[in-house]
Symmetry: C2
Subunit: 373 residues, 2 copies
Amino acid sequence: MLAVDRAGARRGRMATGHGVVETPAFMPVGTQATVKTLLPEEVRATGAQIILANTYHLMLRPGLETLVAAGGLHRFMRWDAPILTDSGGFQIFSLAGNMRVREKGVTFRSHIDGGHRELTPELAVELQLGWGSDIVMALDHLIGLPADPMAVRDATDRTHRWLARCIDAFADHGGEEQAALFGICQGGIDPERRRDSAAAIASAAVAGCAIGGLSVGEPKVVMAEMLEIVAEILPANKPRYLMGVGSPEDLWMGVARGVDLFDCVLPTRLARNGALFTPTGRISIKQRRFADVHEPLDPECDCDACTQFSAAYLHHLFRSGEILGLRLASVHNLRFLANQIEAIRQAIEQNAFVSAHANFLSRYRPIGNALIP
Amino acid sequence: MLAVDRAGARRGRMATGHGVVETPAFMPVGTQATVKTLLPEEVRATGAQIILANTYHLMLRPGLETLVAAGGLHRFMRWDAPILTDSGGFQIFSLAGNMRVREKGVTFRSHIDGGHRELTPELAVELQLGWGSDIVMALDHLIGLPADPMAVRDATDRTHRWLARCIDAFADHGGEEQAALFGICQGGIDPERRRDSAAAIASAAVAGCAIGGLSVGEPKVVMAEMLEIVAEILPANKPRYLMGVGSPEDLWMGVARGVDLFDCVLPTRLARNGALFTPTGRISIKQRRFADVHEPLDPECDCDACTQFSAAYLHHLFRSGEILGLRLASVHNLRFLANQIEAIRQAIEQNAFVSAHANFLSRYRPIGNALIP
């Protein structure tokens, strides 16, 4: 850790085989070996230092063999900075068919060709090391909420047993020479289970601790509570990664509770729907009111979309169904989040996180869920 | 003209309000104020000097008023090189509903909102001058082929009367101060009518002569014959623009018959379908055989897709439905055509067009229609 604000927000630095990541950091998602609509250099230019790719997608297409033949994932997609890959678990639970969990692992049917597949803790590690991830995630057992307390306990305990197997597999393959292994804290929204799980991950031989199973529909106040519980238990000297979180307000909220890393498809998915972040909240660029705004959408923003084009042009591209609109919106939303993260890092360094957070909250009006400071 | 090869191929230079165009030239199509999937600087980097935009689309969306408020089409879309706009006629005939031609002009229903609209020769000129086109096309009367000889004559004669009205409107609006007006030769595939129409355009007070109504399904040998007919009649000192033509083999064929300018959606539309040009012909990047080609698709090509990424990655992007694939394929196909055009220009300068053309034909295998040298 480089600095910890008196509010508990952390400023750190994480070394990987493909360079250093300044934290807090937001990781754009490159699901299928591409951050949707963008070239690697464009993603980099938004300020992203590290991206996430999805093991579930990559194992099915193009597959490990092709990625190895290509010289690894970095070379295949031409991204020469760090890559974190998830374990594949989340997509198996959300995308695949016929999912069945046994102690050995998960069996499922590919959403692409319906073929029977299996993922075990060992295979999850082998795949991620095989294509050259910098940060390897352990396989965890997710369950949908609300769930029976016994089911939550069962899944959480299995997550811990699987983590032990991932640690062994990682060691057997000499993983430490190329990558870092992160464990994932589960436990649903039951404070007791969360505490147990955080303790299990805290005591495990992992390089970083992820917080999974949140931001899946629970009220934000509950997510905040869970973060506060795990923050007290996780080791202070390891990076903390809140999975699947990426709205501007949630970045601030998470950092306030000690989170170092985030990832989410939100900024790029919203962008492709024409929903763009601005300092006062999210807008829909498709709305009629932008048809004749011959100025940048966000005059404070230094992204290519805002410095080169008008809101009226973005509006026209979306109304006309033009792909360039999806690109420019993606660039803008990623740059907007990177600018938030840069402001957050600077505030922590100056021990001024609380006032910077208050400043953000005084302007930004989130949609839907209530705002948790 | 800078040079005319002994074969009749022409090398020229065309001055516009936004710079000089070296001819022969291929114009990428930016239908709705964007060359699909690409930023202006990317289009420019493929070697394009001038683009085409569609009056039919622009008049409906975003409309003249918005384009004027934006400071013109160039500024709206951030393209600071020359723009040619068509007259709107072709899309009215192919896209709009309830189309009806009267001597005054064409009435139709917008394909976007079904609203009743009208386009006259005068309005076509006013629109194009209004948003700042560098080359303004006269409104012509197109008819589908095959057609009754009387209908062809009627449409061709109307095209000539409308051209006279366009010339007047262009003068009335001081068009010459900002733009050049091109007339369009019609006449279907009837040699007599083509000859008449070429003579009418040749004697008109226009800056350039377009050849319309070809490449609409007729055999290529017929298109070649029509080009040979008009080549003898059109004035040698004005640019000749073959509308809607853009396959690699047709560029060579057209230049061999004295054509200076081309436009077509073909390279970018094919690209979005995964059909890419190579020196030996068109391929489908979706084919299984590219899944493990960890080399550039076209090692001779200097485009970003070929210099930065492998054929296997392009294949993966298309198989996965990723937009980045559409972008890279568009860049490649436009660069491929620009490289053909550069080779053509160089060959003419060296008085070696015939052997360069033969060299192209000896390698490139076109799909479908027979190859006309």
